[in-house]
């Protein structure tokens, strides 16, 4: 698989243009939607809490600009449905709310204080799963190993790569915070071996800690999938969540966000994403304010030039697991790792020729064709997409497995 990383991985991150209107979906995390605490017409500042976590699993949402709340209504969302969202008009003045810095060494800071900071900042897993981090860091069992995910295996994406190179200090502060909270025996940082600069910087930093190991990993998709990464680094085979085996995995970007939240009191209002794809002339990593609609980031697709472009697929996330977007108004949310513009290709599906490739390539030892046809082991599939990718007959295996999964779940829990 050509991983297309070279385009963006070595270029410095740029500041993304700021839009006039931002959209903050209330559901940018797994769990229940956050509750808006502002009203239409209110003035907000950068970093101001606009929606509060509600329910057991939820996360705070903050404004990334200063300006006026113009509406709280349904807005397009990356998964194709419409979600309740807060719309804010940017006044381009960027007044900030005061943010409380923290200078005490992490080692001497009480755990509860750190967890509270993370919770206040509304941090969720930035690798795409968007599990609220303060929940993840309160495990119900002792943690032996902490795994830091710098593998970033999806083709095209290199945001984590840039974060490791440019924000190494924040990443390590975040790791230190997680170590303070979880007290693991060992910390593994897994980095794919094509990111040589990231590897060197991270190794140098890791020298300060005696139980932090930076491990190079072969650049093979899906190296960064949680179960594969944990298996590779700790030799523990897990069926669903690594927590089963006393392991917690955090993404490097999440660690950077934790670091900034703890030391600077900075809520999660921006993130680095990769903007790339075969149909874009220039590819870069951008630091984007959350809530920015993708059309702001893609001036190439503006009306006057759009006629020249053919059929496109705009993805949020990588080409293997990303979601195709139906509208350019969809905002960047906490879990967006990249926006890719690819051409739309239709593949003609043929009869299964029983080549067995899907079975040979499945990283978690599922039989994809059986899971697709008969639902065997469907629930173990992590939807990495490798089976569909390799199927010479172009059978949409993942799609079928997903359907079977849903069917099985519905059968298990009748209302």
């Amino acid at each position: 698989m050509n991983n297309h990383k070279k385009i963006t991985g070595l270029l410095p991150t740029r500041e993304a243009p700021a839009p006039h209107e931002l959209v903050f979906p209330l559901l940018q995390h797994t769990g229940t939607p956050a509750l808006p605490i502002i009203n239409v017409g209110d003035a907000v500042k950068v970093g101001q809490l606009i929606a509060k976590a509600s329910g057991n699993v939820s996360a705070n949402i903050h404004s990334s600009v200063s300006g006026l709340v113009t509406a709280i209504d349904l807005a397009p969302f990356s998964s194709g449905i419409e979600v309740m969202s807060i719309r804010i008009e940017n006044d381009h003045k960027y007044y900030k709310v005061p943010m409380a810095t923290h200078t005490r060494p992490i080692k001497e800071t009480p755990k509860e204080f750190l967890l509270q900071r993370i919770e206040d900042a509304g941090i969720v897993g930035l690798g795409g799963k968007m599990i609220p981090t303060h929940i993840k860091l309160r495990p119900n069992k002792p943690i032996a190993e902490l795994v830091i995910n710098g593998a970033e295996c999806e083709p095209y994406l290199s945001a984590d790569h840039r974060v490791m190179v440019e924000m190494t200090k924040a990443v390590f502060t975040g790791i230190e915070v997680a170590m303070r909270i979880l007290e693991p025996q060992t910390v593994f940082i897994g980095i794919e071996d094509h990111m040589i600069d990231a590897m060197i910087t991270m190794r140098n930093y890791a020298l300060k800690y005696k139980n932090v190991k930076v491990i190079p990993l072969p650049s093979i998709y899906p190296q960064g999938a949680e179960r594969v990464l944990v298996r590779e680094l700790t030799q523990k085979r897990v069926r669903r969540s690594p927590l089963e085996a006393g392991v917690i995995a955090l993404n490097v970007s999440t660690c950077a966000a934790i670091g900034q939240a703890v030391t600077n009191g900075m809520p999660l209002i921006s993130r680095v994403i990769t903007l790339s794809g075969t149909q874009l002339e220039k590819s870069y990593n951008y630091r984007v304010r959350l809530g920015t609609p993708i059309k702001t980031l893609l001036p190439e697709l503006s009306a006057d030039r759009a006629s020249k472009l053919g059929d496109l697929r705009i993805l949020m996330g990588g080409p293997m697991m990303g979601l195709a977007q139906h509208s350019l108004d969809v905002p960047i949310i906490k879990g967006t790792t990249g926006v890719l513009v690819l051409e739309h290709t239709v593949y003609e599906t043929q009869m299964c020729i029983r080549c067995g490739r899907c079975i040979d390539y499945c990283p978690v030892f599922v039989m994809p064709i059986m899971a697709a046809q008969q639902g065997i082991q469907a629930s173990e599939c992590m939807e990495c997409g490798l089976c569909s990718y390799h199927c010479p007959s172009r059978i949409p295996l993942v799609e079928k497995i997903r359907l079977n999964k849903i069917k099985q779940q519905m059968r298990q829990q009748p209302q």
Binding site: G322, A324, L328
Partner: protein, 314 residues
Amino acid sequence: MRLFVAASPHSRNPQDVSSIMLHVILALVPTSLMGIFFFGIPALSVIITSVLSALAFEVGVNTLRHQKLTIFDGSAALTGLLLALTLPPIIPLWMVVLGNGFSIIVVKHLFGGLGHNIFNPALSGRLFLSVAYPVAMTSWIKPHALLDPVYISTATPLAKEATLIVSNWQLFWGNVGGSVGETSAFAILLGAIWLFKKGILDWKIPGSFLATVFFMALLFGQDPLFHLLAGGTLLGAFFMMTDYVTSPLTKMGRLLYGITLGVLVMSVRLFSHMPEGLAFCIVLMNGVVPLLDKAGIALHVHVYALIFKEHQDT
């Protein structure tokens, strides 16, 4: 500009069915060249007739079934080529055409076409010819016999009554009497290694089969190398058994298939008088593939449960 929504993944491995078939055909080129080198023009004409007639039958069936033309997926050409490689070089050409007709029409398309056929089309075609024309199917010529004024018929090294002694080196290069493309172990291995590199050939079936043959031969005090090199064993192991459609799909099923085939082939060779039992054994085992896959699935799920232990407290 139009935006399209589709399920992930959004890119695909460029290797699709037709490119796989093309790769296999290319991998058979050395073998075919060796056949032509040793057996001359007759071998060449058998190969050409076979491939062309297979393509012609495919077009015919496509027309009758009101299908899109499927000759470009390469599977028909591959069937024709494989069939040619298992035939004696001096077989009358009309028999080649007949064999292909059987392969493509009966074995492949009457069962539903590529992906549905239970039996390996090329091998079934060959068996059909052996049953219908036993004499023509066992008239072999000595390599380079072309240069002699008279074709000297000879036996393949595996036939019991064979008095001629061939060295393993001769078998390795293919300098012996036999089918067009079965004799040169060297050329077959060359093609197989290339397919391995391309990720098209899976080691499980040929590996388990050849290992079984090797150990069975050792067990019965025979020369294991001779059994590996003679009588189309390698062509069968790398190109016939591994035919995707007619071999098991599951990992465990493949191992079982290879081992069973090894035992079966060696039993035929050791205890019966059928000189070329390999084709019969493969086609026989093709019929058992659904069962093997059932077993394969069950074993797979079982092994999965063993290695990915369900942790209790989650």
